[in-house]
Symmetry: C2
Subunit: 450 residues, 2 copies
């Protein structure tokens, strides 16, 4: 296969004070409760011409159990709610995309469809929904469940949920609103469509009380790496955020998912694969290495074990921290992520301590430490060798780590060609190179009229 | 009882192109899909020193049935989602409160608590939640129900819902976050509280993953006029938005609700009663009258009958429009509002046509047409005679009608004393004269320590 040309896509993944578990202990890190800091991050990412700000989410207080760990917790005990935060950020930015995470397990499809479409209108067509099914066991207890929802059940619900949302987003056709003052006709009833969904999990009549957005509808992003996750993405996602460490793993995932699109009548470029890339950089290699080592030295052991509990779904307190990782039980947690972290431990024969230090920054994602040129080499290789369409950039400390990427890595990528110097379009779809989707009801009417 | 002194409170109630059903047919009216128009309204209201922007809501396409009416519908087929819209408006304003409507029947308490608390943080303590139970029959069909939810069931759920939300808002005590970089202690576990709610409608463990806001928590607003609605408000509301037409009705409602506070251990001034006031004003009485007559002439009969269907819950097509209103059946709809509209029809012996023209502007609320001095007389009377603590101002056309109130009515009120020239505080509570509530868990701990 020939090496590819073209341009890669970059999201700026915001996470409280930074992605490294000890980021908040650095004096220059953002606070997690000051809206001004989020505004500064979004503006910085827009200055760097990133495609989008990307916000993760959880619907519980992370790191609550075991209780001892909470006292020494990294940030993430509280998280700004993504839809409200991104709506505020839409007013402080003008070109960058705004992608927020929301769970199909703990949301209602009518409300979620409406809020993301509203964000898309508020931002002039820059909204995106990162669909997750929530593998976090504590979250279920906040939504009426007595225990975590099993993986298969979460995905069955998600399959139906996304269909309802996509259907509701097409409730009005483009141009439905005539607002004819003279005749008093406000909208064309022929361009209003009732979904009337009746399924195993949801009964939703519709229509949604919101018009289509400038980009048609929000971009659908997903993050599942499990088998049902990949299948759902192949059918319905437009962007995948995934965790891939080696080039070989990335290429295998890329080929696997792109290969599934055809059976859903989709072309490979209708889905962009953007693995996470945790990047520590500086003017020299030793400067980058020192920044990273300083952060690693600030990881409290309680926090390290708690990270493993969240990522692996098991409590490793009581084991020898310098001994091997024990065999992992099958759990209802996120199988994709858990398997990736376990594979990392086995491949490199890591101790418990070495493993928690390996995920303290990247949390299972690809970790890059070096100069701008060294990092650009690796990103470019993964792009041209069909391991990724771009990356979800995870800065170790926010905002300084993102500034480092802008100052050191992006100029290298621009010099070589594969990253933009200016936005191509006004909407997130235009910048990502995704087509504006046709309204499903209008498309059907066009076929019927042939 | 002595006439009261002090100052009245004013909210600026935004509704698409204006509150009059024909507002959108005026060329100067705001469009319902342009964020710029919402921003202009919020800034205008802040310039007028209104306490808050108030947004109503519905979770369906209003006026969909009977289908014929949709073609001639007034605006309101689509509505910006309040939480996302207000979050964006928080970035464009700095002092005015931001009150949004959300339904206890069709929302989840964890998500709702989190989004309103996020709005409260984003705005620096200016958020408010207008709790409704949704009397709109079509809405239920968008949330898994086969038919409208009966009134009593909606209120039973609302009682439990608000308790969960208030409990979640106190998950962290003020000052819980130490963020001590040296020791690595992020927050005090002692200041984190698990709600562990187990009730008939909800099981919510908590805690909520958001700290308390600058004003402690969002202001709770309610609008119920029925018996369970008044009781819920007396127990939990801090502002009531109500519809009262005559001074006598307003005084009776005011005395009734304020009289219920004592049994919940609350003082009368812990709840502000702000009836709707639909105000058409101008430099002269004839100018105000002409503005109103022009709007009335633009009400299409299909729209008039549809308004009666929404307000009364019955379809009056087929009846003689110049004949009397027939007897009204008991329905699951909003009994409070329906009873008010029916009482208006009977009191003034109105025909069907006269009734729909009477509610085409104010939708059952108090309707005032006149000069600034004439309107200030009436507002002041209702305030000093204990009929209201202030008003939710409904402009006929947006934004011009609000500009008229600022130019003609507010200078009269300021001259007489009962309205501010500058904001008293930084938060919505400070401006409304409401105390910052203590955290329930901190309060209990303080009692236990005595």
């Amino acid at each position: 296969m020939a090496k590819r040309s073209g341009q890669l896509k970059l999201n700026a993944f915001h996470y409280v004070s930074g992605h490294h578990a000890a980021a908040w202990r650095r004096p220059e890190a953002s606070a997690d409760d000051r809206i001004e800091d989020y505004v500064a991050f979004a503006r910085l990412a827009e200055e760097g011409r990133f495609d989008a700000v990307f916000l993760a989410d959880s619907v519980d207080v992370r790191l609550l159990h075991p209780e001892g760990a909470a006292r020494k917790a990294h940030t993430g005990a509280t998280l700004f709610e993504p839809l409200t935060l991104l709506s505020a950020l839409s007013a402080h930015t003008s070109r960058i995309g705004l992608i927020g995470t929301a769970s199909t397990s703990f949301s209602d499809p009518y409300n979620l469809a409406r809020q993301f479409l509203s964000l898309d209108h508020l931002s002039g067509g820059r909204g995106g929904w990162n669909l997750v099914t929530s593998n976090d066991p504590e979250a279920a207890l906040n939504f009426g469940h007595a225990r975590p929802v099993p993986h298969a059940e979460r995905y069955a619900r998600a399959e139906e949920f996304v269909d309802v949302v996509l259907g509701l987003w097409d409730s009005f056709e483009d141009g439905a609103f005539r607002r004819d003052r003279d005749s008093g006709v406000y909208f064309d009833l022929d361009k209003l469509h009732v979904l009337d969904h009746q399924g195993a999990h949801f009964r939703v009549k519709g229509p949604l009380n919101a018009p289509r957005s400038p980009q048609g509808r929000p971009v659908v992003v997903q993050a599942g790496s499990s088998e049902p996750g990949k299948e759902l993405a192949a059918r319905t996602a437009e962007v995948i955020f995934t965790a891939q460490q080696t080039l070989a793993e990335a290429q295998a995932f890329y080929a696997d998912v792109k290969g599934r699109l055809g059976k859903y009548g989709r072309a490979p470029d209708e889905l962009k694969i953007l693995p996470g890339a945790f990047i520590v950089t500086g003017a020299t290699e030793s400067e980058a290495r020192e920044k990273f080592d300083e952060l690693q030295s600030l990881v409290h052991p309680d926090v390290g074990l708690e990270l493993l509990r969240v990522q692996l779904g098991i409590d490793l307190r009581g084991y020898d921290p310098d001994g091997p990782i024990p065999d992992l039980p099958d759990t209802a947690g996120g199988k994709g992520r858990q398997a990736l972290v376990a594979a990392l431990a086995r491949r490199e024969n890591l101790s418990i301590r070495e493993l928690y230090l390996r995920i303290a920054g990247a949390r299972g994602h690809w970790q890059l430490v070096g100069t701008g040129a060294q990092i650009a080499d690796q990103l470019e290789e993964r792009f041209v060798e069909y391991g990724a369409d771009g990356f979800n950039v995870m800065a170790p400390v926010i905002p300084g780590g993102l500034r480092d990427v802008i100052d050191h890595v992006l100029p290298e990528l621009r010099r070589r060609g594969p990253f933009r110097t200016e936005y191509e379009g006004r909407t997130l779809r235009e910048n990502l190179g995704l087509k504006r989707p046709e309204n499903r009801f209008a498309a059907r009417a066009a076929v019927a009229a042939e």
